[in-house]
């Protein structure tokens, strides 16, 4: 994974252990991916292709009607023919997901920082964050839709409620896990609250925050889809969940599957993007991103 090549600087042979400077070897690559990573990609890909082939075969062999179980080829075809409608819906869902995630990150991190600055604030507000988390979004979505009125905003709020908590609780944990001696050190040098936050607590919280973000990325999408199911609204700007409902009513099962696949793919894409960002941010220093050698 690590493609970092440290240029071995000229080190004087002064008898110190300074000569033990680690030198990262460069990975060999095929198509931009290191040779070691290929089996990890090919194995699940092979399984997937086998499963799809078996699925197609069973549908053809047992002559299962399309409105019960369409084969993967038909779904792929539907994906292409209905692309205009589906991609517009995908865009709607993704926009809500992204907005919810951004809101979850800014409010989650913001509140976490506030909580760690004031124990009383945390004690007074954290229980409500927990309540927000444990209340099923499906059960409060109708209320939110009635109260808020604007459907897009309602969906955004529902998705935000689901995505918010992992970021909040993980960031709080991270902000509080800065090394105690390092905190003492900052105290010794008379660091201000802001400096301690900026140079110690926020960097220490980064891996925890990113862990929360990985969970929240998927949850924001799920929240957006679930809320849309509850809302079941029509109109021109309708997301993928609405397409699934609609296709269900019209017995257009291949389209239903196509929409479902788009949701899954979006979820995977969100997860991979966040993992990649996480890797970039942590690869030089955090245990989780380092390759073990022994």
């Amino acid at each position: 994974m690590t493609d970092a090549t440290l240029s071995p600087a000229a080190v004087p042979h002064d008898g110190t252990d300074a000569e033990a400077r680690p030198i990262f070897r460069e990975d060999r690559k095929v198509l931009g991916i290191s040779t070691e990573a290929w089996p990890g990609i090919l194995a699940p890909l092979g399984i997937g292709i086998l499963a799809l082939a078996a699925w197609e075969f069973i549908v053809w062999w047992r002559e299962i009607p399309h409105f019960i179980l369409p084969g993967p080829l038909l779904i792929a075809k539907t994906l292409v023919t209905d692309w205009a409608t589906l991609s517009a819906s995908l865009w709607v869902t993704l926009r809500i997901t992204a907005a919810a995630l951004i809101a979850a990150v800014s409010l989650g991190v913001g509140l976490a920082v506030l909580f760690t600055q004031s124990k009383w604030l945390e004690k007074s507000l954290f229980p409500y964050a927990v309540i927000l988390q444990v209340t099923p979004v499906v059960s409060i979505a109708p209320l939110i839709i009635i109260w808020v009125g604007d459907i897009n905003l309602s969906l955004l709020i529902c998705a935000w409620i689901v995505a918010f908590f992992p970021i909040l609780s993980n960031t709080i944990l991270g902000l509080n896990s800065a090394d105690h001696n390092l905190r003492n050190l900052f105290e010794l040098y008379g660091a201000s609250r802001w400096q301690t936050l900026r140079y110690l607590r926020l960097p220490a919280a980064l891996p925890y925050f990113l862990g929360g973000l990985k969970i929240s990325g998927g949850l924001a999408l799920i929240g957006a889809v679930v809320a849309e199911f509850v809302a079941g609204s029509g109109g021109s700007a309708s997301g993928l969940a609405y397409r699934i409902l609609e296709a269900g009513y019209q017995l257009k099962i291949p389209r239903m599957f196509a929409a479902l696949i788009m949701i899954s793919m979006s979820g995977i894409a969100i997860f991979l993007t966040i993992s990649w960002i996480s890797h970039l941010l942590l690869r030089r220093w955090h245990e989780s991103a380092l390759k073990r050698e022994n």
Partner: protein, 268 residues
């Protein structure tokens, strides 16, 4: 401010930098970590606090650093410069038992942390940091992360960070306890070299008789339960000290004396 000087000269002709007066420390759980300690630290002197674990030597060191106040007694500083917040500027460096580096920052960024916190401009801070890294034998490692360094190298970075502000006093809390003997000897030598070159006061907490004799001019022997000072011993051996000293009869002689004092302290 030198009230200590009058009644208790710490060393011939040397001015007292820190005066510890009747200091006791009781923790919240009732443990008395330190009881009635009196100690004068002279400017430029190398003092070891030697004692078994639980004798309060680390607690004492941390109180001198200002991490935790004494329950009873005072710790007076000869200089009383005040920082922007009106607190006395202690001008000290502290080396913990662990290197205590920020894993997300490079060696250079770790070293310049104290300068950054005091608002020194980046260019000057980095120049001083690089110079300090070179002094501890880590030239060329500015951009390495702690993860990529060995235990001894991490400790060197930690020492460089403590010295980058040119402190009047360097407090060290068993800094080399976790290192292997070869690395420890090397770091002891380097520490003495830095001390001789920079003229700071050094307070070194250790439980090793050999380390304390090798390094110090003065050994303060402490006993446990409750932590208290049992003996104050001068090691009358000249500097520079090197491997020759480590194998000399003189060294063995002082080690024997310090061991006896420590034994008395433990059985007391």
């Amino acid at each position: 401010m030198n009230l200590a000087e009058a009644d208790r000269p710490a060393a011939k002709g040397a001015k007292t930098l820190v005066a510890v007066r009747h200091v006791s420390k009781q923790f919240a759980n009732g443990t008395i970590a330190v009881r009635d300690v009196n100690l004068d630290l002279a400017r430029g002197e190398f003092v070891s606090l030697l004692g078994p674990s639980g004798c309060g030597k680390s607690t004492l060191l941390r109180m001198i650093a200002g991490l935790g106040d004494p329950s009873v007694g005072t710790i007076d500083w000869a200089t009383m410069n005040h920082d922007a917040w009106g607190r006395p500027a202690r001008e000290l460096g502290f080396v913990f038992q662990d290197p205590t580096l920020m894993p997300w920052a490079t060696a250079l960024d770790n070293v310049i942390l104290p300068l950054k916190l005091s608002g020194t401009n980046k260019g000057e801070a980095e120049a001083r940091g690089a110079e300090m890294l070179a002094l501890v034998g880590l030239k060329g490692f500015e951009t390495s992360y702690p993860r990529e360094l060995s235990g001894g190298m991490k400790m060197r970075v930690s020492i460089a960070r403590a010295l980058v502000t040119h402190p009047k006093i360097l407090l060290m809390d068993e800094p080399f306890a976790a290192l292997d003997e070869i690395t420890r000897h090397k770091l002891n030598d380097d520490l003495l070299r830095l001390w001789e070159a920079n003229q700071f006061t050094a307070v070194f907490v250790t439980h090793s008789v050999f380390e304390s004799v090798y390094l110090s001019q003065r050994i303060v022997v402490m006993a446990a339960r409750p932590g208290r000072v049992m003996a104050d011993l001068r090691v009358e051996a000249p500097y520079p000290r090197d491997d020759l000293f480590r194998t000399s009869a003189d060294y063995a002689h002082w080690c024997r004396i310090a061991s006896e004092k420590l034994k008395e302290a433990i059985s007391a």
